[in-house]
């Protein structure tokens, strides 16, 4: 007899945003992302509490990726940030901080949520229109004839993750590698069939970061004992190598028959039958003068032996990740069956050699195309290698975004402070007709605008973790970090602002960032362009990623403010 259990009724919670537990959870979330932010941020050890791997990180993708949440509102928040990270890689923490701050302040306002949503939307428009306008004084146009901005931006990204444990010198070294690989994979001429190349990352734990290297082509790790077993007696093929690439397993197992059973006559050895097939395939390879055979999966030892005796280098277990780059790099088509393959499937390589990094041995495949290159990343232990890899991938992705949108924003908190100053000034003079369209009064608009600006300023202030004070100047609205208990008058002359654009002499007056100040109009682009050209190094952020992060944060806030009921299926 079956037991039927009655379905429980769904649970509906009205006005979930007012609950104390949600506010508390939001605060915890805010504290968590805020404490990770920036080059001096703190690290989090993420693990599952039952002996799983521990990830020590301050990188948004690793931090939020592993998080499991109980409250639906938090789930919405984290989901939209994760979505942002998956498309833009950078500015994930910034988006989370901005969103948490905006939400926290908006929830305190005595306004209806619809009004708040409308006003924040209009403020978002003001903000993004400004950032995209020609007048914007906090952005830099990337000049691709010079690697300076590219290097600056890469350096800013790499330096912002303390778990990489890099010194300035090491940051410079790795930035150079990344920019090099970026320039390497951009096609030299444009055309319809031209695609952006790709960078592969090889990580080695143990050696110092300075031993990281840039290598054109691809590296395949080979264990030291398999070298002699791999290499034909004639040595590796030297130049203009024909290559065959197999995606099908050549390990000689009988193909999966699904649920059905296969009946074999006694005395027939299916394994031997398949092996004979493989040897026929091997013979074809030898006849076609293939010099290297790469297989995504396993190659049968007998086939390996057969190929080796005939001077063909056979490498197996290269993994799915390398298949696409190999296709791109050599022009080879992955062969997916044991049937004779047309010779057009074969690819070509310029050269094959043996290299070693750290205490590992690699087969180095040098292509004719420059599209694929590898970066060998070294760091002392697994934790820092992993964080370095994540950070480098972010930097690489951000560089790719530059091709589409060649702009960079001033980093180090300056953009946030500057945008806040701009919006404060702008919201002073809103046209009454516009207010009518929004359906709010001038004071209501001012309240929300203040919230909006405070959230930006709070995001900038999140860069400080050691008790220092953050000031802003009343000329350009930049970010100035000063020791605790020092006011604007005693700022050291050595001081520069967060993005290194301004020196002390450039700004006349300071006030504590986040404190109320008389709104002013920040200087526009033409007034500071001379400064931009003169500066040696700047701290720079991705323009595309930051703009999207702002949009995601404000939209998510709107979405969450709009939640009236939470309906939960209890079954």
């Amino acid at each position: 007899m079956e037991r039927v259990e009655l379905k429980k009724p769904s649970l509906c919670t009205a006005r979930p945003l007012t609950s104390a537990s949600l506010r508390e959870a939001l605060r915890v979330m805010q504290m968590m992302v805020t404490s990770c932010y920036g080059p001096n941020g703190r690290l989090k050890q993420v693990h599952n509490g039952s002996g799983g791997c521990v990830t020590t990180t301050s990188h948004s993708s690793a931090l939020l990726g592993g998080l499991s949440l109980s409250h639906p509102v938090l789930q919405v928040l984290v989901a939209s940030i994760r979505n942002h990270i998956s498309t833009f890689s950078d500015c994930g923490l910034f988006a989370a901080i901005l969103c948490c701050n905006l939400l926290e302040r908006c929830l305190r306002l005595p306004l209806s949520s619809h009004k708040m949503i409308r006003i924040t939307k209009s403020l978002l428009d003001v903000c993004l229109t400004y950032l995209k306008s020609e007048d914007c004084a906090c952005k830099v146009n990337v000049d691709f004839t010079h690697s300076r901005w590219l290097l600056d931006m890469t350096r800013s990204i790499l330096a912002s993750k303390p778990a990489c444990m890099m010194t300035m010198k090491e940051v410079d070294h790795v930035s150079l590698l990344i920019v090099k690989s970026f320039l390497h994979k951009v096609p030299s001429e444009s055309g319809p069939d031209r695609v952006l190349g790709r960078t592969l990352t090889v990580t080695i734990e143990g050696p110092s970061v300075m031993q990281s290297a840039f290598v054109p082509g691809m590296l395949i790790e080979v264990s030291p004992y398999s070298w002699s077993r791999l290499m034909p007696s004639s040595g590796p093929p030297s130049a203009d190598v024909t290559l065959a690439l197999f995606s099908v397993s050549l390990c000689g197992e009988f193909s999966d028959a699904g649920d059905g059973a296969v009946e074999v006559m006694a005395g027939v050895d299916p394994e031997k039958v398949i092996l004979d097939e493989l040897i026929v395939l091997g013979k074809q390879m030898v006849d076609d003068h293939v010099q290297i055979l790469l297989c995504q999966k396993v190659i049968h030892p007998s086939l390996k032996q057969y190929l080796k005796e005939r001077g063909v280098l056979a490498v197996d277990r290269i993994g799915a990740a390398l298949m696409e780059p190999l296709t791109q790099m050599t022009g080879a088509q992955p062969i997916a069956s044991l049937c004779p393959a047309p010779t057009t499937c074969y690819g070509r390589l310029r050269q094959i050699s043996q290299v070693s990094y750290g205490n590992k041995q690699y087969l180095h495949l040098v292509p004719y195309e420059t599209a694929v290159c590898s970066i060998v990343l070294c760091n002392r232990n697994e934790t820092s290698v992993k964080e370095l890899k994540r950070t480098c991938q972010t930097a690489e992705h951000t560089l790719n975004l530059l091709l589409k949108d060649p702009w960079l924003l001033l980093g180090g908190g300056c953009t946030e402070a500057h945008v806040a100053a701009y919006i404060r000034h702008k919201s002073l003079s809103v046209h009454s007709r516009y207010l009518k369209e929004l359906g709010c009064t001038a004071s209501e608009y001012k309240l929300v605008a203040d919230c909006f600006c405070f959230a930006f300023e709070a995001a900038a202030r999140s860069l400080e973790h050691d008790g220092g004070e953050v000031l802003t100047d009343l000329q350009d609205g930049h970010f100035w970090s000063v020791p605790p208990d020092i006011d604007g008058e005693h700022v050291d002359t050595k001081h520069v602002c967060g993005c290194r654009l301004l020196n002390k002499g450039d700004g006349p007056r300071w006030t504590v960032l986040g404190s109320p100040y008389e709104p002013f109009s920040p200087r526009n682009r033409t007034e500071i362009s001379s400064l931009l050209l003169a500066k040696e190094t700047l701290v720079l952020d991705s323009f595309t990623a930051k703009c999207n992060a702002i949009r995601v944060a404000v939209d998510t806030t709107g979405l969450i403010l709009d939640v009236a009921y939470v309906i939960k299926d209890e079954n």
């Binding site: 690290l43 007998s302 701290v539």
Partner: protein
């Protein structure tokens, strides 16, 4: 697990004890920035109501991680220095106990399941994987630096400044101790002489002058050694015959370059002075004893093995290739009353008594060998092969199919082996027992569980390629001319096993036979042997050594003190401008003191363990005195060189009395420096971590239980 040693503490009780301690400590030390900020700003959320299934918990640990690191690593104290005390590890679950004497073994027995414990384990494993030595230093420094950093935090130094300040300090120390590098070619016959040479070289002097004096001294001392010490082996030969004059240094350099290239495949890397790294075999002996670090017996074996590997070579060069750990094998003769320790070419292994007759039959004859890289069983398939589960064999008489299949396989296998005329099969994995017995009847030996490096050595010298299946047998895979010999040191009457040596022409594999009276010590002897092997290996790889016995650390202490004396605000410490860069100068001296504290504790523990001083306090007084002496000396590096070559001799004197030889203690360069770096790296990573995030809900109960203490918040 319970660890019992002099300190007699159980690891779990240990941790609990400390955790309680730290709890109160954190409450007292409310001026501690990091902790209070987190604890006051975040009120604890009471743990969830019943029905939540998925959630994350955040543990706000403050700097508990550093305390944990300190606790973990304090157990390694007695392993520091040449005179180690053993630890007895008792497993309460299995009632088994083991004797250990290395930090690496200790690590295997510690409970390191916590987040910080895992990081710690990861760091030590990474270091051990690369260097196989220097883990004690790493283990110990992690603890003392954690403690020092905690003190630094109590003085109110911002976390970010500690991180960049300590990194900077360590890097500049490591740059500075380059002055103490002793190139291997300087360690020639009479070391006193070469020491005086080197002591001329100071950190300030540039590379060229270093090259000059080193080159000069190496040749001079080389000849000096030849004249004075009559017992040079006949194999000894110097490439360099005429002493170079200082004038034509460059031509000399290129000349040497050519010479060594003609004799060697491997070229020393960059600078020309590395090429003159040929030393005689008696100096290798000196080097090995200097690197023995209290395990002179184990090191003697290593050295014998090293010399044996090059017995046939006409000339001996101390290059990177001279000595590789993969060419050594160790074989234990259990329960032998007398001390046997010998070294012989080839692969020695213990076989069961049943093999004795076959071995006697084969003894002295050239054997054909097959190398199998896998198991020798019917069911074995290469890695990655999945046997299809739904294959059904259809046959008329399906009686006991499994049985017949295996029997057929065995008879075919046996036939194949006999047909190929193979007498010896080395198998990396397991082998089918029936097949082994059948083969024994056919006068064929099958030896299982052979290490990959041994297979490789036989493959190298006989040209036999290892195969996976017997079906692969071809003329490429069969090696010839392997000779089996019963080891005379091991009389078959006394035991159930026999020791057999397999040898082939030009084999570059040496087996060290060690008898062991105390079975529990076997593991320790083996560990010591490999530690010595890798210490020598690393020294040869680096082509340079440090003076040992705390000299390098003392030199660092002196240097840090000098840095503290003239603090300047160096270049930018941070990529993004921050007030921290400008405030660095105010905190630098406490940060440097923090760094120094680690080394002071290291040296004092070392000296105390060596029995030089009755207490660590006395040792510290000595360190202060030495630091003053170095400070007043005109050339600190030469002072350290001269004093420490003398001083350490005295210490070792009583140990090595039977040899009537005075030995200076040396230490590896890269493993030591990297151990420092890794230790600091770990401490700083943990310092920067302020919270632990536990994802999922698998251990909700445990967390809830603990959360009453207020450490957890839930999301």
């Amino acid at each position: 697990m319970v660890i019992t040693n002099q300190d007699a503490v159980s690891s779990s009780a240990y941790r609990q004890h400390y955790c309680r301690n730290t709890g109160s400590k954190l409450c007292d030390g409310s001026h501690d920035n990091g902790v209070t900020v987190l604890q006051t700003t975040v009120p604890t959320v009471s743990p969830c109501r019943g029905d939540r299934t998925v959630m994350s918990a955040i543990k706000l640990g403050g700097h508990l991680g550093l305390i944990e690191l300190f606790n973990i690593s304090s157990s390694v104290k007695t392993f520091l220095g040449p005179q180690k005390s053993y630890k007895f590890i008792y497993d309460q679950d299995t009632q088994e106990s083991t004797l250990i004497c290395s930090p690496f073994r200790l690590l295997e027995s510690l409970d390191l399941s916590s987040a910080v414990g895992q990081l710690f384990n990861e760091t030590i494993q990474a270091h051990h994987k690369v260097y196989k030595t220097g883990t004690t230093t790493l283990f110990f420094l992690v603890g003392v630096w954690s403690k020092a950093v905690l003190e630094c935090l109590h003085h109110g130094v911002p976390v970010s400044l500690i991180v960049s300040g300590m990194q900077e300090g360590l890097n500049s120390c490591i740059e500075h101790v380059e002055a103490l590098h002793i190139p291997l070619y300087n360690i020639l016959g009479t070391k006193q002489n070469s020491f005086h040479r080197v002591s001329v070289v100071d950190g300030g002097s540039d590379n060229v002058s270093k090259t000059k004096s080193s080159n000069f001294s190496s040749s001079r001392d080389g000849n000096f050694g030849l004249e004075c010490l009559g017992h040079i082996p006949k194999t000894l030969k110097y490439v360099q015959t005429t002493p170079p004059s200082k004038g034509n240094l460059h031509s000399q350099g290129s000349h040497m370059n050519k010479l060594s290239r003609s004799r060697h495949f491997s070229m020393p890397k960059t600078s020309s002075f590395q090429n003159s790294s040929q030393i005689s075999s008696h100096s290798l002996e000196d080097l090995t004893q200097s690197l023995s670090h209290g395990n002179s017996e184990a090191m003697e074996l290593v050295e014998k093995a090293g010399t044996l590997l090059h017995e046939t070579a006409h000339e001996l060069f101390v290059t990177k290739d001279l000595f590789q750990a993969s060419r050594l094998n160790i074989c234990f003769l259990r329960g032998v009353p007398e001390v046997i320790s010998s070294v012989s070419f080839g692969y020695v292994t213990l076989l069961k008594q049943e093999y004795a007759t076959v071995v006697r039959n084969l003894e002295g004859k050239p054997l054909k060998i097959l190398l199998l890289d896998g198991d020798l069983t019917e069911i074995y398939r290469h890695l990655g092969f999945n046997k299809s589960a739904n294959l059904k064999s259809v046959s008329g008489f399906g009686v006991n199919e499994r049985r017949t299949w295996e029997d057929t396989w065995i008879s075919t296998a046996c036939q194949r082996i006999v047909e190929a005329n193979i007498n010896l099969i080395l198998v990396r994995g397991d082998a089918c027992p029936q097949l082994i017995m059948q083969c024994l009847n056919q006068n064929t030996l099958i030896i299982t569980h052979v290490k990959p490096n041994i297979l490789q050595a036989f493959s190298d010298c006989t040209g036999a390629e290892p195969v996976t299946y017997l079906t692969q047998i071809s003329h490429y895979s069969i090696g010839c001319e392997v000779i089996a010999k019963l080891c005379p040191q091991w009389s078959p009457e006394s035991s159930q096993t026999i020791a057999v040596n397999f040898h082939a022409h030009n084999i570059n594999l040496v087996t060290v036979l060690v008898s062991c009276r105390l079975l529990p010590k076997m593991q320790i002897i083996e560990d010591q042997f490999w530690a010595c092997t890798h210490r020598l290996h690393n020294a040869l790889l680096d082509q340079k050594v440090f003076p040992g016995g705390g000299a390098v650390e003392l030199f660092c202490l002196h240097y840090l003190r000098k840095l503290e004396g003239n603090l300047v605000n160096g270049g930018p410490h941070f990529c993004t401008p921050s007030w921290l860069s400008y405030s660095m100068v105010h905190y630098k001296s406490s940060i440097y003191q923090c760094l120094a504290k680690g080394w002071i504790l290291y040296i004092s523990t070392l000296l105390f363990n060596m029995g030089e001083y009755a207490s660590e306090f006395e040792a510290m007084t000595f360190i202060q005195k030495e630091l003053q002496n170095i400070g007043t000396s005109s050339s600190p590096s030469s002072y350290v060189f001269n004093e420490y070559s003398k001083k350490v001799e005295l210490i070792d004197d009583e140990k090595l009395q039977m040899h009537h030889r005075k030995v200076t203690v040396y230490d590896d360069v890269n493993p030591k420096v990297e151990a420092w770096r890794s230790a600091l790296h770990l401490v700083l990573t943990v310092l920067q971590s302020d919270a632990e995030i536990i994802t999922g809900s698998t251990q909700k109960q445990v967390i809830e239980g603990e959360s009453s203490s207020g450490n957890y918040v839930f999301l």
